[in-house]
Every structure is written in structure tokens, then in C-alpha cells.
């Protein structure tokens, strides 16, 4: 008993000692934990608070509204329209198939099984096409009720976002709202936007050095709301229109669901509007006037160079491009023989034909090689060496002076003039009046055309210039190529004698007015020389026997107190052979459409106080007098009629 107690006491003493040791170890452990807590919560608190904030908040790119494109009077041609959209952040969806199936049922609760499945399949394809961390737009332009229903179910749909989005919309907006009109008339001037493809993104990113800036831009460009200008003003003025993206701070949970929006960390700066010089009404009028044709119509304010109208017919609907055009529709546009996607007024190059004759005449006057009263006899043919050059009028014009040569568009007269002037002096005159230059217009796609010289031919073909080619150049055929825009500028320069340059945007540097400059020194030609050719041009349209007189119904511009000046032209598509000429030239109507000549007409009005210059080209329209004169006159008449103070009749409708 005694021994047991001793032993018992020994056991207890050892246990107590060791228990104290264990307690000490435990105390050390708890002290260690406390130190760790101190380290995490006191020493590193700021660091972890930041990380926690990074978790809690997310910065989302906030799109600025894209600037509008408006016409010279402020009428909206392109702007963003709000619509309801459903988007997904696919990487946030743990059970993607389940969520998409649920979403499909929320969007179309009464849809058939196949329709729902089809919808889900389409979404999956869209998601599969996107990059991993891209938001993917599944549905656009959904109605309000569907939108509300999706929002209601959002707690069950992780990764699904139902928000208002913006869709770029083209066409003239009526003041009262409603459908947009005439989107196709502005397709080439305004252009269109689209989501950027990888090539565009890579190109834009490559231009940025700062990695942080690059990452931010990459995020913005992958935002479902990002659009980039792809053509026209939308392309060239993309930086102005785009605005600056902001950053929206949102509180998110671990699954990336937005709990609430906190506000903008960085304000968006809305894109600036671009105000075009184009008059939307005139543009629409011109587009309608060229309905069914393939061609161009350009109107320029001769005082300022402002382009009032820049039409390429037929147009196309840029809205389809902005929303993502489907392949079959795109192929149809590509294969259309009238080439709706081709920007004809800027990129279409044609031999100017007889519309060039004023330049030949002005060159002759400048260099004194032809007196305006000198008469040239036209027999219908001119011989040069062993070649014969024909006048369009086979029986000839008889004895003809300069004014009459323009009015009747006599080729023989200009063969003679060209022979005296020479090709290089002709080229010099052509360049002076605006050919050979694309003008750096804000609307892209302009081409320089071609003004041939002896040196050019040698460099291009390694051949000497033949004098016969000078004769051909004198009547605007042969190597000469000009765009409708250039011909309109040429007309404006003849009308004013000043070197005005075209512009389509008010944000561009304005052309100095003649009054502000040293006037006479700026004149492109002597006023008396210009007066002669202008007078001839007036006769073309307003006098019996003028080449356009009968095509215009013997009424000229048909406005009280106003006269117009003009010039017809034909650019040959199909070269007339000697045999055919022997058989008698076939009438235009007998030729297949694609072989018919292009019809050209340039003109300006009012004759005594020029304000507007016009150029109309109708491809394969036959001669200029038949196809182009009437539309050109109608367009000129429309714009003159609309301008206050130009027409004697005070009852004319006024705008601006």
C-alpha cells in the first residue's frame, strides 16, 4: 500500500512536470499564432486590404458614346442607338451548358424544343469563336419584356449580363424619330464601323509601347461595345469619333457576378461629332436621281470647296455591315455588276472626254497659240501623217471659233488646238485646274488619276510620245484619267478662276476665301480667257444648238433669273474600229450595257455668279448629253433652288 502510494506520487510528479512542459509548448504555439496574426493583420494589413479590394471590385471598361456624323445643317446621318442586349462572360460560368439552357428558356419560354436547342447551339458557337476572357454578345435588340425577364433571373444565371448596349445606326434621322432614311446614299462618305478583327487589334496594339496602356487598350478593344471605323469618315475620323473610354468600378463576388455598380473611376469622354459639308437632302436627292444607274454625282461649293454632295450609285446599306454582314449578302454585293461597294466619285477613274476641252482651250489662250476669234474648219476628219482623226459629227461642223467649239463640242477644233499647244503644256494646264491630285480628302479612297506627259510615257512605256496622242489628249481621251471629284473641282476652278480645294468636313482647315488673299495673283487664268470658256459652257446648256440643250428639254436650268453652264463628255469604253465607222457607228442602244460609253457632264450655276459646280458620271450611259446631262442639271437645279438668294423668285424654300 505504501509502495503503491509512493509510486503513485512519483507518477503524478512526472506527469505534472511533463504537463507543464506540454503547456509551455502549447503556449509557444499560441504565441506563434499570435505573432502570425500580427504579421498578417497589422504589418501586412495594407497589402492584404488591397488584394481584398482587388477581389471585391472590378474595373470594367466603360464605353463612351461614339460621336455622331451630321450633315452641314446638323441632320444626323450616323449615331448610336441604344438597344437591349444579352451578353455572357463564359469563363465565369462553371456549369456553362446548364446556364445556357436555362437562359434559352428564359429568353424564349414558349419556344419549341428544337428552337431552344438551336439557340443554345448558336450561342455555343459564338462563345467557341471568342477568346477565353472576352464578353460574348449573344442577343442584340431584344424587346424590353425579354430583357426584364433575363434580369429577373440573373441570380440563377451566373456570368450572364443583360444590359443596354449601343448599335451604330446609319441613315438620316427625322426630327420626329422613326425609321432612318437613305442610309445607302451615305454609305461611301460616312462608311461604317464593325467589331475589330484580330488583325486590326494586333496592328493597333503593336503601335503602343507602354505595356500597361497596351493591356488596357486590349481590354477595351475586346469589349463587346467596341467598334472601329472600317470605311469612309468612320475610318479616317475614328480617333475623333471614338472618344475616351472610362473605367466603371463594380463590386463583384467570387463568381464574377456584379453585386452593384460603384461608379466611374475614370470618366468617359464622349466622342466628338463630325460635321460634314454634305447636305443630306441634296445627297439623298442625287442618290435617288441616279437610281438604277451605276455612277457618281459630285457637287462642290465653288467659293469654299465644300463638297455638298458625293454620291456613288448604287449605294449599299452600311447598317448591315455595322451589325455584321452575312456571307451570302456580302457576296451578292461583290458580284453586282454595278459594283455598289466601289467608291466611284473618288476612286472611279475615267477619261474625261469632251469635258476636258476647256483645259485645252485655256492652255491655248495662255500660251497665245490660238486667238478665240480664229476659226477652224471642221470637215469631220483631220489627217495627221497617215492617220485620220474623226470629229464626233461625221459631216463636220464647218467653220468654228472657240465659243462655238465648246458649245458644239467640236473635236476637229481641238485636234488643231492640241497640236499647237503640245502635250506638256496641256498637262501643265490640267494639273493647274486640279487633275492628277487626290486632294487628301477626309473621305478616303481618292485616286490621283493620270495626266500624261512626254516624260511620263517614256518612263512608263520606254516609247517616244506620238503627236497623234496629243490630238487624242486634246479631246480628253487616251491616257488621261480623272475622277468625278477631280472633274467637279476642275469645274469649280473654271467657274471661279481660283485654286479651291475640296473638303467634306467642317473640322478640316477651310480653304482661304479669294477676298482674304491677294486675289489676282491667285487667279488660275486670265479673267478674259475664263470668260470665253464659261460663255461657251453657258451656250452648251442654255442656247439652241448646245450639245446639252435638247437633252435638257430646251429649258437649261429652268429657274427664273438663273442660267447654268455645262459641258458634256463621253469616255469611250469600246474603241471604234475603222470598219465599224465605215458601217456607220452603231447606236448606243444596240451595244451590250457593259460596252457602252460612259456619259459625263460637268456644269456650274448660276452662270453670272457661280456658286455650285457639279459633275455627274453615268457609267455605260452612252454619250454625256443623253445620260448625264439631265441628272446633273436636276441636281444643280435642286441645290440652287434650295440656296437662299440665288433664285430671283423669293418664294423658294430656304434652308440653313
Amino acid at each position: 500500500m505504501m509502495r503503491r502510494h509512493l509510486e503513485h506520487g512519483e507518477r503524478a510528479r512526472v506527469l505534472t512536470r511533463r504537463a507543464v512542459l506540454m503547456a509551455g509548448a502549447g503556449a509557444t504555439a499560441f504565441a506563434g499564432l499570435t505573432v502570425r496574426l500580427w504579421q498578417l493583420q497589422v504589418v501586412q494589413q495594407a497589402e492584404y486590404a488591397n488584394l481584398s479590394e482587388d477581389n471585391q471590385f472590378n474595373l470594367r471598361p466603360a464605353p463612351p458614346p461614339r460621336g455622331r456624323v451630321v450633315d452641314r445643317f446638323g441632320a444626323v446621318i450616323a449615331d448610336d442607338q441604344e438597344d437591349y442586349q444579352v451578353r455572357v462572360e463564359a469563363w465565369q460560368m462553371k456549369d456553362r451548358d446548364g446556364v445556357l439552357a436555362k437562359l434559352a428558356r428564359v429568353i424564349g419560354p414558349k419556344d419549341s424544343e428544337e428552337r431552344t436547342t438551336g439557340r443554345v447551339e448558336r450561342w455555343k458557337a459564338l462563345i467557341a469563336r471568342a477568346r477565353r476572357f472576352d464578353e460574348v454578345t449573344l442577343e442584340t435588340d431584344i424587346d424590353w419584356e425579354t430583357f426584364a425577364r433575363v434580369n429577373l433571373h440573373r441570380p440563377d444565371l451566373p456570368g450572364v449580363i443583360a444590359e443596354t448596349g449601343r448599335t451604330r445606326t446609319y441613315g438620316v434621322a427625322a426630327l420626329a424619330g422613326g425609321a432612318r432614311r437613305n442610309a445607302d446614299a451615305f454609305a461611301h462618305v460616312v462608311g461604317y464601323v464593325s467589331k475589330p478583327h484580330d488583325g486590326i487589334i494586333d496592328e493597333k496594339l503593336a503601335a503602343i509601347r507602354d505595356p500597361q496602356e497596351r493591356a488596357q487598350l486590349a481590354r477595351i478593344m475586346r469589349h463587346p461595345g467596341y467598334r472601329v471605323g472600317r470605311a469612309g469618315i468612320e475610318l479616317t475620323q475614328d480617333n475623333t469619333l471614338q472618344g475616351k473610354w472610362g473605367q466603371l468600378r463594380v463590386e463583384v463576388d467570387a463568381y464574377g457576378r456584379t453585386i452593384r455598380e460603384i461608379g466611374l473611376d475614370q470618366a468617359t469622354v464622349p466622342g466628338e461629332d463630325v460635321r460634314l459639308t454634305v447636305d443630306a437632302e441634296v445627297q439623298a436627292f442625287a442618290q435617288a436621281r441616279l437610281e438604277g444607274e451605276s455612277g457618281s454625282a459630285v457637287v462642290i461649293d465653288v467659293e469654299t470647296g465644300e463638297v455638298i454632295c458625293l454620291v456613288s450609285a448604287p449605294g449599299f446599306d452600311p447598317n448591315r455591315f455595322a451589325r455584321g454582314i452575312v456571307q451570302p449578302a456580302y457576296r451578292a454585293l461583290i458580284n453586282d455588276p454595278r459594283k455598289p461597294l466601289y467608291n466611284k466619285p473618288l476612286a472611279g477613274l475615267y477619261p474625261p472626254g469632251s469635258t476636258f476641252k476647256m483645259i485645252t482651250a485655256l492652255a491655248a489662250l495662255r500660251h497665245g497659240v490660238m486667238d478665240p476669234r480664229e476659226r477652224v474648219y471642221c470637215s469631220g476628219k483631220t489627217r495627221l501623217g497617215d492617220r485620220t482623226f474623226h470629229c464626233w459629227k461625221r459631216e463636220g461642223h464647218g467653220s468654228i471659233d472657240m465659243r462655238l467649239s465648246i458649245k458644239r463640242s467640236c473635236d476637229s477644233y481641238y485636234y488643231e488646238v492640241a497640236k499647237r499647244v503640245g502635250v506638256d503644256r496641256l498637262a501643265e494646264e490640267a494639273l493647274r485646274f486640279g487633275l492628277g491630285s487626290a486632294f487628301g480628302l477626309a473621305a478616303p479612297g481618292g485616286k490621283n488619276g493620270l495626266v500624261p506627259t512626254e516624260a511620263w510615257k517614256r518612263a512608263r512605256f520606254d516609247e517616244a510620245w506620238a503627236q497623234g496622242e496629243t490630238l487624242i489628249a486634246g479631246i480628253g481621251q487616251g491616257f488621261l484619267l480623272a475622277s468625278p471629284l477631280q472633274m467637279a473641282v476642275l469645274t469649280a476652278r473654271i467657274a471661279t478662276g481660283r485654286a479651291i480645294s475640296p473638303r467634306v468636313m467642317f473640322n478640316e482647315q477651310p480653304t482661304p476665301r479669294a477676298e482674304d488673299l491677294g486675289l489676282e495673283s491667285q487667279m488660275l487664268a486670265a479673267p478674259e480667257h475664263l470668260a470665253i470658256v464659261r460663255d461657251g459652257m453657258m451656250a452648251v446648256a442654255e442656247e439652241a444648238g448646245g450639245t446639252a440643250y435638247y437633252a435638257l428639254g430646251m429649258k437649261g436650268i429652268d429657274l427664273p433669273g438663273v442660267k447654268m453652264a455645262g459641258k458634256t463628255g463621253t469616255s469611250q469604253v469600246f474603241r471604234i474600229t475603222e470598219e465599224e465607222r465605215a458601217d456607220g457607228v452603231r447606236k448606243a442602244g444596240e451595244l451590250p450595257w457593259r460596252l457602252r460609253d460612259h456619259g459625263l457632264f460637268i456644269g456650274f450655276a448660276p452662270f453670272d455668279k457661280p456658286k455650285y459646280a457639279v459633275c455627274v458620271v453615268v457609267e455605260h450611259g452612252g454619250g454625256g448629253s443623253t445620260a448625264a446631262a439631265a441628272p446633273a442639271r436636276d441636281i444643280l437645279r435642286e441645290i440652287v433652288r434650295r440656296t437662299p438668294g440665288l433664285v430671283a423668285d423669293a418664294g423658294a424654300p430656304a434652308r440653313g
Binding site: 507518477r11 503524478a12 506527469l15 499564432l33 500580427w38 498578417l40 497589422v42 497589402e47 477581389n55
Partner: protein, 389 residues
């Protein structure tokens, strides 16, 4: 039978063995233990309320379970200590048998086989084993004289008692519980008075065992967790994600915390398993350094009371059992908090009384029942080995 014996000793005169006498004998330390345990469970209820943003589904059930478990604790405290000592071996071998049964045909959930379904009840034998091992070792050393502790009988049978269940639990696989069981066993062997040279040898053998275990005894995911722990940056969205988010939560709490229900990491679901194993992060985030240290202080207070109870017991069984309960509880808390603070690899160990979970709560409260029992019966001397067997 022992229960009946305890009940029949009711003496209305209020002697030391009457029920009234026993309630009275549950003096300051006993009531303090009940109070502190209730406080800790109260912290659990509050945090679960915050986690789910209301009473449902966790907080109310946690409170109900605690209420029931508290009753069980009191009952287990008042039964004669003989009940505990005589149940020591049977409960141990039943638990061991159940562990073998789990190995043979247990229910599998989340890749681990830890449960057996008996009708509607789901039993997790490893939870029973934690307490059963404490009892078995206390019972074994109670009957062993100090001289024999470092001899053959003092070493091999206890090693078997600890090793067998630990090995079975590792196989489940449940590394956390296995470590806990092994550590508790080692603590009791240490407390038994085994000579230091054996402790040293054991430590070396244990270290070798850990190395062998790491390379041959672990599941891939367990090894990955440890590797992730050693190099957390390698996998920020996978296994490292949990621990990173946990550290962010605790660290961002700062000195005073973000406030009750205001923890963004918690409320926005960045925390994994926040209602069970990671509940301490919620405390850290919402109540900061002050709150976290407060909870650790509460745990230390419970441990101090437990050690006091142990050392004031006259029975060697009682002392060992009480210290065993304290050790288990301490290991739970230390491993769990060290885990959420990124000090040890992620192992599935809950924070006792705070984490949501019925079986664990019952096991912990049964342990405190034993502690209370040792306190109430501190004057009792259990018969020595021979008479007990």
C-alpha cells in the same frame, strides 16, 4: 450497469457521493469550463450567422446542436468515472473495428471514404477514435507502474494503440485526423513518463516515418497540397487559391476588423469552406486582430482550466484522460488556425465548436464531458489495474 450504480447512490442528505453533492462539487473550475465552452460555441453561432447572412441554414442548427451537446456533456460529466474507464478498451476496439469496416465498405464522398451508413445514421469512426484512443491510453497507463512505462509493455502496446488507427485513417484518406490522432497519442505517451531516450528515438523514427509516408503513403492530392503549401505561388487558382483567399481575408481585417457581416471576402464568396474548416478567416476578417486573438485567448482559457482539472485529479486515469482531451482540443485549434493562416498545409481539420458540423461537435463535447467528469470526480481514486480488469 455503471450508470445505474451512479444513479442509485443518490443520497438526499447531501453527502459527497449524492447527486446534490456532485453538483456542488462541480465548483468554480467546472462552471468556468461550461461557460467558456458555451462562449466559444456562441462565437461559432455568430460567425455562421454572418457567413450565411442569417440564422438559416447554419447558425440555428449549430445553436441547437450545441444545446443538445451541452446536455450530453453534463450527463457524461456526472456519470461515475468507472463508466469511462471500463468503456475505454471496448470503445477503442469498437472504433478500430469500425475503421476497418470503413476501409472494407464505407461510404465515399469527395474522394475520401470516411463514413459508414447505419440506417439513417452516418458514423465517422475516426471521430470516435479520437476520444477512444485517449481513454484507452489513459486506461492502459493507469494500470502500469512508472518502472514499466519505459519497458517493453510501456512502449509496444501503446505504439500499437496509436499506430493502428492512425494508419487506417491515413488510408481513408484523412491526413488531418491521422496527424491529430498520432499527435494526441504521442502526447499521452510523453505524459506517461516514458524515458527521454525513448522520446528521442521515437522522434527520429517519426521523422523517418513522415518521409516514407510522404513518398509512399499519400494520395496525389495530399502530396499536391503539401507541395502547394511549400510553394504557394505555383498554383494561384487551384489548391493555392484557398489559402491565398484565406490570408487575404484575415490580413485585410486589420486590427479591428471590417465589422460583423461586413467581411467582403466572406460575403462575396471568395472564401472556400468558410462555414466549416475556414471559419476562423471570417473571425479574422470581420473582427480583426483583436477578435482573432480574443478567440485564441478563449481557447487558452479553456486549456488552462482543463490542465488545472487534470492536475487536481487524484486518479492517474483522470489526469491522463483530461490532459488527452486538452491535447486533442489544442491540436485541433492550432492545426486549424495555422492552416488558415498559411503556416501548415491545408488539411481537413475544423475549428472545434466554431466550425459547422454535427459529428465533430458531438465528439468535442463528449471530450469536454470527460474533462468535466474528471473534475467532478477529482477526489475519486480508481482501483488499480488488476481490479479494474
Amino acid at each position: 450497469m455503471a450508470m445505474i450504480q451512479g444513479m442509485t447512490t443518490y443520497d438526499p442528505s447531501g453527502g459527497p457521493h449524492s447527486l446534490r453533492g456532485r453538483v456542488f462539487s462541480m465548483s468554480f473550475a467546472g462552471w468556468t469550463l461550461v461557460l467558456l465552452v458555451s462562449l466559444l460555441a456562441g462565437v461559432g453561432v455568430a460567425m455562421l450567422y454572418s457567413v450565411s447572412g442569417g440564422w438559416e441554414p447554419y447558425a440555428s442548427r449549430h445553436a441547437t446542436r450545441f444545446g443538445f451537446s451541452l446536455l450530453v456533456m453534463l450527463v457524461l460529466g456526472f456519470v461515475p468515472m468507472r463508466v469511462w474507464s471500463s468503456l475505454a478498451y471496448p470503445s477503442y476496439f469498437v472504433a478500430l473495428a469500425l475503421l476497418v469496416l470503413v476501409e472494407l465498405k464505407g461510404a465515399t464522398a469527395m474522394g475520401a471514404t470516411r463514413w459508414i451508413d447505419i440506417g439513417p445514421v452516418r458514423i465517422q469512426p475516426s471521430e470516435i477514435m479520437k476520444l477512444a484512443l485517449v481513454l484507452a491510453l489513459a486506461r492502459y497507463y493507469h494500470g502500469l507502474s512508472i518502472e514499466r512505462v519505459s519497458g517493453f509493455f510501456g512502449i509496444l502496446p501503446p505504439l500499437f494503440l496509436v499506430g493502428a488507427p492512425a494508419a487506417l485513417i491515413v488510408k481513408q484518406p484523412d491526413l488531418g485526423t491521422a496527424v491529430l490522432v498520432a499527435a494526441t497519442g504521442a502526447t499521452l505517451i510523453f505524459l506517461s513518463g516514458i524515458q527521454w531516450r525513448w522520446i528521442l528515438r521515437g522522434a527520429i523514427a517519426g521523422l523517418a516515418g513522415v518521409v516514407v509516408l510522404f513518398f509512399f503513403g499519400l494520395q496525389d492530392y495530399q502530396r499536391a497540397r503539401i507541395l502547394t503549401f511549400l510553394n504557394p505561388d505555383t498554383d494561384q487558382l487551384g489548391a493555392g487559391y484557398h489559402i491565398l483567399q484565406s490570408k487575404i481575408a484575415i490580413g485585410s481585417g486589420g486590427v479591428w476588423g471590417k465589422g460583423f457581416n461586413e467581411g467582403t471576402q466572406t460575403q462575396l464568396n471568395f472564401l472556400p469552406e468558410k462555414h466549416t474548416d475556414f471559419i476562423f478567416t471570417v473571425i479574422g476578417e470581420e473582427f480583426g486582430f483583436v477578435g482573432s486573438v480574443g478567440v485564441l485567448g478563449l481557447v487558452c482559457a479553456i486549456l488552462l482550466v482543463g490542465i488545472y482539472i487534470a492536475l487536481s485529479s487524484k486518479a492517474h486515469f483522470g489526469r491522463l484522460a483530461a490532459l488527452g482531451v486538452c491535447a486533442t482540443f489544442a491540436f485541433y485549434v492550432v492545426i486549424n488556425t495555422a492552416m488558415v493562416m498559411g503556416l501548415v498545409p491545408v488539411v481537413g481539420v475544423p475549428l472545434p465548436l466554431v466550425s459547422y458540423g454535427g459529428t465533430a461537435m458531438m465528439a468535442v463535447m463528449a471530450g469536454f464531458g470527460l474533462l468535466l467528469n474528471v473534475h467532478i470526480h477529482r477526489e475519486d481514486e480508481l482501483p488499480s489495474a488488476g481490479r479494474l480488469l
